[in-house]
């Protein structure tokens, strides 16, 4: 095994003789993926399996007057044609609310629309056939008569009295509102020497996973069990929801999640069409498969962002920030998504704005309104890119206004590294952050002074380059405060079970899941290090509700920090069990023994005493030779949940260096830096890949991505040619570095790293573009994505 970057952790608690912590161990699943031997849901084929396709509403809002499926039912290969009304007898509707988001409301959502379609793309009828092609052929024969209703598509007017209320029983189109005031914002603005006020706009995005959503549901009437193969991030959450809405007990449902081709938060939600598949399987008593195609993905995979934030900052001439104010408005779909809700992103914007800074005077309002567009929910770095771009955009506009260097203004306002524990203006609690250390590292890493000199020299030649920054905090390792307290059965804890096999290898069954980020590798590293075996002897098993400890899965950057700690503790517990047996065999005290590289050794001298294979042989095959009363326990389970802090906040700072072609309005990204602090770095390569991948998604937000709707609620660019995901040719080099402040809540000390890149990159690029164009007198650009057209307009050229 080739370890590409080898810097074993200096942390004593983790400094075991054969530690893999802090080392770039290759992913154990890499060969399988590269050889095409992965098992995605698309690869699952079962006897009698049928394929589903959906007839989807072409209208953003329409009454379904009639559905005539007689011709479709006669089409070749068709097994069944099922309407929403028919399926509602098999599966109950749901309402996406959480009790801790006060006032959050939504309407019951069905697996397939009943009587009314509320967005263009909502499933109206299912066709199940021998093949997907035959199902699609038959879909064309389903005759549906619609009566088009007025589509509510503008968040700005959704709450007006004259606007149609999408769900009349709710009274208005307001999903959720949060108002928060802290400190004394009014006095803060009065004390300011300068106030900057602007409106930030964020495009509507979607995650565009390589592998689309996919599910195979198999109701076995004999066993009275539902087995679901699903590309999900949270198998146990889905087990609960499938059972609940099909009227089954949880133990009657097994969710199996093998390889998953990317998630980014897209695959952690309840999708109506996937609920329809489990119901169809139950109805038809046979396996049913559904793989969303790319066109369906664009109109049904959750969308995110789409916020309009009016914002103000007060600042003194000495750079002291005196007050913040934001007014956020976001238009979601016609339903709050189940069970995590569509209120979380706006709630996060309120939580996180101003987060890195000491200024306590803060006034915020966030409103979430229903629209007849595709549903919205949590996508990588939920709320962070918005809150960070708003905060950091204000900070750099304020710095420009008072004529202060933007890094200097940050130095004067960021929470001091020795001031922790501390809290942000919204009241979010920080255990330990390292803003100043990160900033200092970034300053030297990017050669800030040198870049400023280069920038000034190039301006003389008519070349306009910009430097922009974004400090940020990131929510990771969520405790039960995120969802559990709101009544959702989404587990904040996770468990790991490790088992010594009969030859001395180790199996680890764990509740977190893998969608390509390397959770499997990190789990193996923790187990191998804590137990004491070469990593090749650890087999990790994930994604099976029948066979893994109950857990939350992988989201909110929790797999390494929470799952890793459970694996670490389980490995330690198994080590104790094994040295106890070894002690019996060797007639030595267990606490004088250790396990290193798969061998039981004398703890002090490292002298090899007995191989794990021999311990296993005796324990499993010749237990009669052990002393009376000694029973080997060769399985250990440990669970972990963060308790001391609601979230383990990470922090960091990013910088962007770019060039704006002032003739064409095109932006060329030249370089990007990220210094972040995710605590203990378990695998430097995987952490850097997470940072880089996250940055790229953030760069997409800044320059390219946006779901464009017309005023009738039609998505105009729902395909890979027109929805512009960032691609390699346009991406800069992304340099990463780390400050390490472990969380004391776990022994491992790891915080999450999955979303920091996405959190900071958009604001960073915005600031760099404005920095580049400031000498030209261009109006500040705050409306993402920054297309050539918008830049040319800011320059007065169009």
């Amino acid at each position: 095994m080739k370890i590409t970057e080898d810097s074993p952790s200096a942390l004593t608690a983790l400094d075991r003789p054969n530690s893999y912590i802090g080392r770039s161990v290759p992913r154990p699943n890499m060969a399988r993926l590269m050889q095409g031997r992965a098992q995605f849901v698309s690869d699952v084929t079962l006897p009698r399996m049928a394929h589903a396709a959906f007839v989807r509403s072409p209208h953003a809002h329409a009454k379904i007057k009639s559905i005539d499926s007689s011709a479709a039912k006669q089409a070749p290969g068709v097994v069944a044609v099922v309407t929403g009304a028919e399926l509602s007898k098999v599966i109950t509707p749901w309402v996406g609310v959480l009790t801790h988001l006060k006032g959050l409301k939504s309407a019951p959502q069905h697996a397939i629309a009943v009587d009314r379609a509320c967005w263009a793309g909502e499933a109206v009828c299912a066709v199940v056939a021998r093949s997907r092609a035959e199902a699609e052929d038959a879909c064309e024969l389903v005759q549906i008569e619609y009566e088009e209703l007025i589509a509510v598509t503008d968040a700005e007017t959704a709450l007006d009295a004259k606007t149609l209320v999408i769900h009349p029983e709710l009274g208005d189109n307001l999903t959720f509102e949060r108002v928060h005031t802290a400190g004394n914002p009014e006095q803060g603005f009065k004390a300011a020497d300068a106030v900057v006020e602007t409106t930030f706009v964020f495009g509507r995005h979607t995650g565009v996973t390589n592998e689309p959503r996919a599910i195979v549901a198999d109701w076995n009437a004999g066993d009275q069990r539902m087995t679901v193969y699903q590309g999900t991030q949270a198998p146990h959450m889905m087990q609960n929801l499938f059972a609940k809405h099909l009227g089954l007990q949880e133990h009657q449902v097994r969710v199996l999640t093998k390889d998953v081709g990317g998630s980014f938060g897209i695959k952690v939600h309840t999708y109506a069409d996937e609920m329809a598949i489990v119901a169809l399987s139950k109805l038809l008593k046979r396996p049913v498969k559904f793989v969303a195609d790319r066109i369906e993905s664009f109109v049904t995979d959750i969308h995110a962002r789409d916020h309009r934030v009016k914002a103000r900052i007060g600042v003194k001439n000495d750079g002291t920030i005196t007050a913040w104010e934001i007014d956020d408005l976001t238009g979601i779909g016609p339903y709050s998504v189940y069970p995590r809700t569509s209120g979380i992103e706006a709630n996060q914007v309120v939580n996180l704005t101003g987060g890195p800074y000491t200024c306590p005077n803060y006034k915020a309002r966030a409103r979430v309104v229903f629209l007849n567009k595709n549903v919205m929910c949590q996508y990588r770095a939920v709320g962070h890119p918005i809150a960070t771009a708003v905060t950091e955009g204000l900070v750099e506009l304020a710095a420009a206004k008072i004529g202060m260097d933007p890094l200097e203004l940050r130095r004067r306002n960021l929470i001091a590294d020795d001031a922790h524990p501390s809290q942000g203006p919204s009241g979010i609690k920080f255990e330990a952050l390292s803003h100043h250390a990160a900033l200092a590292h970034l300053d030297s890493m990017m050669n800030y002074a040198g870049l400023r000199a280069e920038q000034a020299a190039l301006r003389q030649k008519g070349i306009y380059r910009g430097i922009g920054f974004a400090s940020f905090v990131e929510v990771t390792n969520p405790s039960a405060a995120f969802y559990g307290v709101g009544g959702a059965k989404i587990s904040a804890q996770d468990g790991a079970t490790v088992r010594l096999d009969a030859t001395g290898a180790v199996f680890c069954h764990i509740g977190v899941t893998e969608q390509g980020q390397g959770a499997e590798a990190v789990t193996a590293q923790c187990v191998a290090s804590a137990f004491g075996v070469p990593i090749e002897r650890v087999r990790v098993i994930m994604g099976d509700t029948d066979n893994t400890p109950y857990g939350g899965g992988t989201w909110a950057s929790r797999a390494a920090g929470i799952g890793g700690e459970a694996a670490w503790q389980a490995g330690k517990a198994l080590r104790q069990n094994v040295v106890a047996i070894a002690g019996s065999i060797l007639q030595a005290k267990p606490d004088t023994l250790d396990i290193r590289n798969g061998v039981v050794v004398d703890r002090d001298t490292g002298k090899e005493r007995i191989g794990l294979d021999e311990v296993a042989r005796i324990a499993y095959f010749r237990p009669d030779t052990l002393p009376t009363g000694v029973q080997a326990e060769l399985v250990a389970t440990r669970h972990y949940v963060p308790r001391a802090w609601a979230f383990s906040f990470t922090n960091g700072i990013q910088a962007s260096y770019l060039e704006v072609d002032t003739d064409s309005g095109f932006v060329k990204l030249l370089n990007h830096w990220c210094v972040e602090d995710c605590g203990t770095v378990i695998n430097p390569q995987l952490v850097d890949e997470q940072i880089r991948g996250g940055v790229v998604q953030g760069l997409g937000a800044a320059l390219f991505e946006q779901c464009v709707y017309d005023d009738r609620g039609q998505l105009l660019n729902g395909n890979m040619a027109d929805y512009l995901v960032p691609m390699a040719m346009e991406m800069p080099d992304i340099e990463c570095a780390h400050v390490v402040t472990p969380t004391a809540d776990s022994e491992l000390g790891a915080k999450g790293a999955g979303e920091a890149g996405t959190a900071g990159a958009p604001g960073c690029v915005m600031n760099a573009i404005n920095d580049a164009l400031r000498p030209l007198g261009a109006a500040a650009l705050t409306d993402m994505p920054f297309t050539p057209g918008k830049i040319l307009r800011a320059l007065g050229k169009v």
């Binding site: 066109i295 003739d663 105009l716 691609m727 057209g789």
Partner: protein, 280 residues
């Protein structure tokens, strides 16, 4: 995204393809880079797909009598790597790297791109700038159509229902030939927001026979004739100003009309520089 059912026939010869085209709702399959996507999205649902890929007569690149002839089935990648095209049709060589991505160029054909006539595609504009012609075979035999007359409207060409585009011909470059090509695309490999293909002959310090063909600005590639006149006289600023009457680009999802018009001017300045430079 599964295509509606269709019959498939592999054409044995050009005549066979033409004969098959006589059947109801038949379409030709060349590289399939646009057609397969439209089939999968059920934007088109022909009853018969006629596969041209085995028809050898549609391939080949030949230079004779001051003309370079390129078979319709020539793949982008062959054109990109062809020494003959680099030497005798340098504008096409310049345009090639801008067409999609390598995977697309490996399969896509020159004839397919021209027959499909996407208004944002590079090759139709190149052919228009080069004053090229297209050879078409139909039930009544072969005929030749000038590029000027080939592109009729949005995805609409002079090809009749039973016609096959067989080859394109452009005048071979001489030492006086000047060409220029530039486009703005949001990402490398995307269809252009606006693009410009240009060809001329050096005439002392000026340019003769200048043809500026814009793409991504209308239903077909568009000649900017007033700008041509101004630029031929060496007046770049006047040429850019003239674009206001030459072009009336409409908005699409990536840019509004005003932005496209501005970018057309930026392209003109850049391409003008290329046109002034002697060929290497």
């Amino acid at each position: 995204m599964k295509p509606a059912p269709f019959a498939y026939a592999k054409a044995r010869s050009l005549d066979h393809a033409i004969e098959l085209l006589g059947r109801d709702e038949a379409r030709l399959l060349a590289g399939g880079q646009s057609l397969m996507a439209t089939l999968n999205m059920r934007l088109s649902a022909p009853k018969l797909l006629i596969d041209l890929n085995g028809v050898a007569a549609l391939g080949g690149i030949a230079v004779k009598d001051g003309t370079i002839e390129i078979g319709a089935l020539t793949r982008h990648i062959e054109a990109e790597r062809s020494a003959d095209i680099a030497k005798h049709a340098p504008l096409i060589a310049l345009a090639m790297p801008h067409i999609g991505h390598p995977a697309i160029r490996n399969r896509g054909t020159l004839g397919g791109s021209l027959a499909f006539a996407d208004p944002a595609a590079e090759l139709p504009a190149c052919l228009l700038a080069l004053n090229g012609e297209l050879e078409i075979a139909g039930p009544k035999g072969k005929r030749t159509v000038k590029a000027e007359d080939f592109f009729k409207g949005l995805f609409e060409t002079a090809l009749g229902p039973q016609d096959v585009l067989t080859a394109i011909r452009v005048p071979a470059a001489t030492k006086d030939t000047r060409v220029g090509f530039a486009e703005f695309a949001r990402r490398h490999g995307d269809y252009a927001m606006v693009g410009l293909a240009a060809a001329a002959r050096a005439d002392g310090k000026g340019l003769a026979g200048l043809r500026l063909a814009y793409f991504g600005v209308g239903a077909t590639p568009v000649r900017a004739k007033k700008a041509e006149a101004a630029l031929a006289n060496g007046h770049v600023d006047d040429a850019v100003t003239a674009l206001a009457s030459d072009l009336d680009p409409s908005a699409d999802v990536q840019a509004d009309g005003a932005t496209k018009r501005h970018l057309a001017g930026v392209l003109l300045r850049r391409v003008a520089k290329q046109l002034m430079e002697p060929r290497a």
